[in-house]
């Protein structure tokens, strides 16, 4: 079976869950090889990748790969594609990895599919478009298929691989060093899971009423181990930072459970959360369109319902 390259997503040396999903998916399509780009590689990371099926791990952990925007990683992957002739390249459908995929596609003259929610053995990808309204199947017709897969679209399953490590030396070209990252600014977000990766997301909208009152959304999120999201009305008002916005011009999330409190369910919001497996809504307006999507809805004041729910969840743990 042929090799499938999987670009590893990692933060502070930790392998992100989406990578385990991609490895699980890659095992169906061929033999997974993980590609580690940037610093932070460790025996723990290696063990994790092997546990989920990486037969090989290509490591390019020089600082160069990480110090410039996107281009060096595309060069690294292009080099590996030409050396290893994989059957496909999988990346996570994050903003940055999609850009890597895009530049790679040009370098290796291959098609790229973004935001896949599944891939069949024939390398046909499933995509959900127009805010979840239409399901599309598409495939790459030229070159080595490059597919960006949405986090949370494949349940992870461990199955040990050899995890044979291979150091890759890349010489980052001058052209790829054109946009230099001079500083990385981390904005505190506490211990909550990342929005696009989280199994549960609790979001608040205009109905929350103020920045201070977002604490009731955060408390419910924390009781469930969830990430916090927000509607555009809430981020526009400055109640919650923009990077937590869910929707058409924000993040797309596909969690197991999405709880929307004080969100009307405008089409642009739905575009970012419609593929959640289970949806719960709290809204005081029985006519709010969010109830059309909800598996369970409570018509009521979120200031009463949400804290009570938080308390109940804590009690039942």
């Amino acid at each position: 079976m042929s090799e499938i390259l999987v670009l590893v997503e990692h933060v502070e040396g930790q392998v992100k869950k989406v990578t385990l999903e991609l490895l699980t998916l890659a095992r169906k399509l061929g033999v997974p090889s993980a590609v580690w780009a940037g610093p932070g590689y460790s025996p723990e990371a290696k063990a994790k990748l092997a546990e989920y099926g990486a037969e090989k791990i290509y490591v390019a952990d020089s600082a160069d790969v990480n110090d410039y925007v996107v281009a060096p990683k595309a060069e690294l992957l292009a080099q590996l594609v030409s050396e290893k002739s994989p059957a496909a390249v999988l990346v996570a459908a994050t903003a940055e990895a999609k850009e890597i995929a895009g530049r790679l596609a040009i370098k290796i003259d291959s098609g790229v599919l973004t935001d896949a929610v599944g891939i069949e053995e024939s390398l046909v990808a499933d995509q959900s478009i127009f805010g979840g309204g239409v399901n599309v199947r598409s495939r790459v017709t030229k070159g080595t298929p490059i597919v960006a897969v949405r986090p949370n679209s494949t349940p992870v399953e461990a199955a040990a691989g050899a995890g044979a490590e291979e150091q890759v030396s890349v010489t980052v070209s001058d052209a790829a060093k054109a946009a230099r990252i001079v500083e990385r600014v981390k904005q505190e977000k506490g211990a909550r899971p990342e929005l696009t990766e989280a199994a549960i997301v609790v979001s608040g909208g205009r109905g929350v009423g103020s920045a201070e009152n977002f604490s009731i959304i955060e408390k419910l999120a924390d009781s469930l181990g969830a990430a916090v999201g927000a509607s555009r009305a809430a981020t526009d008002a400055g109640w919650y930072p923009h990077q937590f916005q869910v929707g058409q011009t924000g993040k797309t999330v596909s969690p197991q459970l999405y709880i929307a409190a004080g969100i009307s369910g405008a089409i642009q919001h739905r575009a970012g959360m419609q593929t959640a497996k289970t949806i719960v809504a709290v809204n005081k307006d029985p006519e709010a369109p969010i109830f059309e999507l909800a598996d369970f809805g409570v018509v009521g004041d979120l200031n009463q319902v949400v804290p009570q729910l938080t308390e109940e969840v804590a009690k039942r743990k």
Partner: protein
């Protein structure tokens, strides 16, 4: 400074969007065409940079005849002139084809700075700016929520999952902007009137030195094999809060094993 802002016409998200059953491309006749929202932020940023540093703002759109409405909108906001890349040969181009066609046109018309939206509401690929940077061999400064120019240097804040990266480069460069970067202006009546007189240059594939075998549906690097409307979600249970709404919601979560 010669600023080119890439603007796309997309179907209004408030209307029902469809794919055509014949060639499985976006049905651009079924819905009203509007300017892609993030492109308005791109136009606004281009105008602000021009106001601060001087120069000219050119709108570049690839799309059917109908896309001229979108060009007028950008001109009414204050852009100086426009280039409309329009040719039947371009219909159905995927991201690789579109980026190739736009890159060829950009080489032809020249630029110090190219500004794009970070994503379109129809394709939602979010890869075009990166692809343009790759094709043009210039720095990629994408997902910016702040852009600063100082002579030949440019710095942006690139939004990341953890916050932002400060990125530096020199011009010429490609920038894409996110929603919170600015507040796009509304075209004034004067602006709308003035837009009618501004130059819109129409270019075809041959004019822009685009190799027709690299664009269009038949030459795409990927294809839609089939599509179907997503099955509607099953109707849920809606309860009215009688003082126990939170408890009932917890019962539901427990029944689904979330607690």
């Amino acid at each position: 400074m010669n600023i080119v802002v890439c603007v796309k016409q997309v179907p209004d998200t408030a209307t029902e969007r469809k794919l055509r059953s014949d060639d499985k491309t976006l049905d651009r006749d079924a819905a009203d065409g509007v300017i892609n929202e993030l492109c308005e932020y791109a136009v606004e940023e281009a105008l602000r940079l021009k106001e601060a540093h001087g120069g000219e703002v050119t709108v570049l759109t690839m799309g059917p005849d109908k896309a001229s409405d979108t060009i007028r909108k950008a001109l009414a906001m204050g852009a100086d002139k426009a280039v409309h890349l329009v040719d039947d040969a371009l219909h159905g181009s995927d991201a690789l084809g579109t980026s190739y066609a736009l890159a060829q046109t950009l080489k032809k018309i020249g630029f110090d700075l190219v500004v794009l939206g970070s994503e379109s509401t129809d394709a939602r690929t979010g890869v075009l700016a990166a692809m343009l940077a790759e094709r043009l061999g210039v720095p990629q400064l994408t997902f910016a929520n702040k852009v600063e120019i100082d002579g030949g240097s440019i710095a942006v804040q690139r939004v990341t999952d953890y916050g932002y990266d400060r990125v530096e480069a020199s011009l010429p460069a490609v920038v894409s902007v996110v929603e919170k970067i600015n507040e796009p202006r509304y075209p004034s009546f004067k602006g709308i009137m003035a837009a009618k007189k501004k130059s819109v240059e129409k270019l075809g594939v041959a004019d822009a030195e685009i190799d027709a075998s690299q664009v269009g549906l038949a030459n795409s690097w990927s294809e839609v094999t089939d599509f179907a409307a997503a099955p509607p979600r099953a109707a849920g249970t809606i309860v009215k809060d009688e003082g126990d709404g939170g408890v009932k919601a917890a019962d539901f979560l427990a029944s689904k094993k979330f607690v």
